[in-house]
Symmetry: C2
Subunit: 252 residues, 2 copies
Amino acid sequence: MIAVTRDEPDKKIAQGALGSRPLYAQVRDLLIARISSGAWQPGDLIPNEFAIARELGVSQGTIRKALDSLAADNLLMRKQGRGTYVARHTPADMLFRFFNFFDAKGERIEPGSRDVQLSQGRASTPERQRLELGAAAKVIRISRLRTRAGEAFILETIVLPETFFPGLAQASRIPNTLYDHFQKAYGITVARGQERLTVALADVHLADRLGVVPGTPLMKLDRVMYGLQQQPVEWRVSLCRTDSAAYVVELR
Amino acid sequence: MIAVTRDEPDKKIAQGALGSRPLYAQVRDLLIARISSGAWQPGDLIPNEFAIARELGVSQGTIRKALDSLAADNLLMRKQGRGTYVARHTPADMLFRFFNFFDAKGERIEPGSRDVQLSQGRASTPERQRLELGAAAKVIRISRLRTRAGEAFILETIVLPETFFPGLAQASRIPNTLYDHFQKAYGITVARGQERLTVALADVHLADRLGVVPGTPLMKLDRVMYGLQQQPVEWRVSLCRTDSAAYVVELR
DNA sequence: GAGTGGTCTAGACCACCCT
DNA sequence: GGGTGGTCTAGACCACTCT
């Protein structure tokens, strides 16, 4: 049995302070910072509950509440008898967590991308509204064609606040899995968002890019994604073919 | 302060038994039974944590874990300083919890319904697959036109296993808010489900029913809903206009 | 002020996994 | 056998709500 002799309180967390956020929420933020800073890498086994509790000067139950909440959000993976691991964002199903297209067999589609184009400029009025930016703000624009088994599938337009992604506009290559890249290269974790789905008809230009006949009905996704501090980090509009693919929603 | 004198253990839950499910999960099931049996009605204030703990002979922390899990599933609503309530399916935003269409202002659309038609018969092959029914099973079919501000909006086809809804096919009137009716009249709580979204073009017949020109692109929703015991209780196909309405998804 | 849920702590035992 | 997370208990204090 471990004699829980607390040598020193180490880095104490704001405790008992009036109006402060709950301890477990502060622990959660601190652990999120360790993950997004790269101190804890995806796949790493992190210290056990008692070790973290001792280090932070709080009880094991509080650590557990934070860990459970992170596991529920898919940032950690817990295995009884083994330990707690930082979730790999590399396995396909995690990389495409916010990608809701499935094929007829119920398998998640894992798109590729090509024809990537980058540009930069002052934010337009709708861009400023969606991304909650000031009047003079600059944005980076990415357009690309997403593919499925090599075939055109989705035409995407992505808008990013320039302040969060310095230098991205000059990048020579943009990875397929953008949110993973945001986290690794800019320390920005895309945590949640909202997507509005409507339908549209392919005009001549769209039809050409997507390899369909003009007049084909398409699904249009309009999404804004937010970071861990609830700041808008991306506005994305996607025009999708839905022949032999469906957008799947879990209702709870 | 309450003197926690435990008079009698009352109805003890299987405790310590080898291989038994966790206590909090058993408490959860028991509370679900109280809700779905109608012993606790939607809107009711349920006893506080200590009272339930005393009644069941377990600790308050265990009750809390069960209550928190039910609240996370939207079966209960907890309010600090007030108490724990059985979730109402009656307020508009609860009644239409699984209805994800929003208008341009971001308000949830609350549809009406008309032209309701009822029929009954042997389940077809796709119906048996979706609803996990045996070869000779019967189903009830409902079709209706859902309206928005009086105008045609969605054409719906609903299929229900006859065993769960005895006599429904002979009903003289079908309420607009079906899931609420299922709960009140048949004790079936629709708890979760899955919806597959694709796009389709309105043919002449559809266009006529929905008041659009033939060739208009529509959104097609194909959903299966499940009850508290994970049994399929409904298959529903909806064809929706999306002019000035969008299907909104929260990404987490 | 009384009652409620929300947070935090401390300690116990169990089931599972490794070596 | 030793370490891990999973469950359960018991008790304390806080924040919120109602009257």
